[in-house]
Subunit: 336 residues, 2 copies
């Protein structure tokens, strides 16, 4: 399927990349090398590259949220950079935690520089995200920093749940949805509102954008969960059935387990058993037969509808709403 | 040697512990278990304990710094809690990075709960430290959060250097001192001034306290470096010569290598060689013969003198200065 990448993404990438580069090159040399590699600014030897640095979905939302508040997009710039840094902090640590050796078809930072340097580089990005907002001299800096800190704390809590769920087979759909709201929804909610916060927008506009971002985040996670089981490795950069291999209780798995009956029991037994590798294809089939995939794709659509609904009730300018809408469509069209 | 623990430490522990417990129990359940264990509030099964939670040196400095600014010690409470959280974030991650299996004679958090949960718990404490300052509704909250973010970023940079130095044998004394200033000095500098920042003290008082804390931090690190080679394992909780085993370029090692000549060359060869385990006792002897230990102990004394000097020039009330002095003495008396 050919998808049109929203123009807001390219605009955000152009706006944010110079700032990201500048901050990266101000980091201490040992951290800088790891971060420059991870962000695609340099190869493993430190030579400059023009590697694809990701889609800049979060910065795009941040910039649009300033426009939604009637302010120039640049108002959101510190926020756009900060949310992108938090996102990359989480990628650096997640790759260590999940022991993933590849990201965007390159070795991950820990695989190249070692676990210690990857952990420390993630820590550095996390602190930098706060510093940028606190030192921006922006009247909304404290509120934006506080909003981002809360979102990041939620994301970290979601990550802890995700990990803890791997050793359980009684994770309910509500628990999996709550985890997705925290792990992915919280940072997207912050990204989609931080520009409005920096622009001093009204509470109702900030609340509508926050709700839009949170639902969009769950929709994004739902699609990601489908790809994590059935996505081709060319798209995901990971082997097939990878989330099942890691015993993740992603949305399709929780939905399938929640159906009960002998098939769900069989799935639970595979996911808690020792010889999981040989039974991955059976597990994937069971999740599908139990309706886990269809339910999750439906949930993505429902969440996008809820995200749109939050926008429509907000009184945000129609043109900006149209752009936010495009971002939402892009998220759910991300299939295979 | 019997040492008198400064009364400020016990006072700080009493003031900070209830807040630390309260915040810990507000964390999400999976993170809470790891943090409660790490802080000594619970055992491995989650049962309450009264395990020694460390000396509370940083909270003690934070509370004293409010007094130094003529404000009630309580003014510093959010800062005292925040610096203690950052300290514990660094312990959680350092234990993962250094692969240390024991701390305070108990298994480390990663050894018990897994690497992933320990990394995530550290991340959670880091964010919590910012949230406490940003959400305190304190007029100095933004400045305190900014000060702590800067100190934490410096500490993380120092940790990255510490790691990178392990694969080098040409680390100069200046580099090792710079690393110690960042890794340990920065957070102590922040701890020793954050109460004054929250109290809205004058720049000169904040600057004097910052300088006091930074020098004290280097003194503390110098003693720690001596213990890291020659300390008995009952005191350090680690096997003898541990810093040499990890090829750390701590202050005694950098000082010894900097002397040059055949003994320094021999030391460099051991520290970059493969069969290091069998030659640790020779390496320790070489560091001592090359004057690395004496120089480092001298540096600790010099730094404490510089710390005191910063205080004397500050015009801070004599009684508070006396208490800060006691903390400084305690730090350098920490031998074997």
């Amino acid at each position: 399927m050919i998808r049109t990448v929203p123009v807001a993404f390219a605009r955000a990438r152009d706006a944010v990349t110079p700032a990201l580069r500048r901050y990266t090159y101000q980091l201490s040399p040992d951290i800088r090398d790891v971060v420059a590699y991870h962000l695609g600014f340099a190869d493993a030897e430190g030579n400059p590259t023009t590697q694809d640095g990701g889609k800049a979905a979060r910065p795009a939302l941040a910039l649009l949220s300033a426009s939604a508040a009637g302010a120039p997009a640049e108002t959101a710039l510190p926020g756009a950079v900060a949310v992108e840094l938090v996102h990359n902090f989480s990628l650096l640590h997640d790759d260590v935690i999940d022991h993933d050796g590849e990201r965007r078809h390159r070795p991950t930072a820990w695989a190249l520089f070692g676990v210690g340097q990857a952990i420390v580089a993630g820590d550095a990005l996390l602190m930098l995200s706060q510093q940028i907002l606190l030192d921006a001299g922006h009247p909304g800096g404290l509120e934006a920093a506080s909003c981002l800190a809360r979102a990041t704390a939620d994301m970290i809590a979601g990550q802890a749940e995700d990990l803890a769920f791997c050793s359980r087979v009684d994770v309910s759909v509500d628990e999996a949805l709550g985890m997705s709201e925290r792990k992915t929804g919280a940072l997207l909610a912050c990204a989609a509102s931080i520009g409005a916060v920096l622009a001093g927008a009204s509470r109702s506009v900030v609340a509508a954008l926050t709700e839009f971002g949170r639902h969009l985040g769950v929709a994004y996670q739902a699609i990601d969960d489908v790809l994590g089981i059935w996505g081709s490795s060319e798209v995901t950069g990971k082997p097939a059935w990878n989330d099942l291999r890691e015993r993740k209780k992603s949305l399709p798995v929780a939905a399938a387990l929640g159906r009960g009956g002998p098939d769900a029991a069989r799935l639970a037994s595979i996911l808690s058993g020792e010889r999981i590798e040989q039974r991955l294809h059976v597990a994937a089939m069971l999740v599908e037969d139990l309706g886990g995939r269809v339910w999750t794709e439906g949930e993505a659509d429902r969440r996008v509808a809820m995200a749109r609904d939050a926008l429509e009730r907000s009184g945000i300018d129609a043109e900006v709403r149209g752009e936010l809408d495009e971002v939402a469509s892009f998220v759910v069209e991300r299939r295979f």
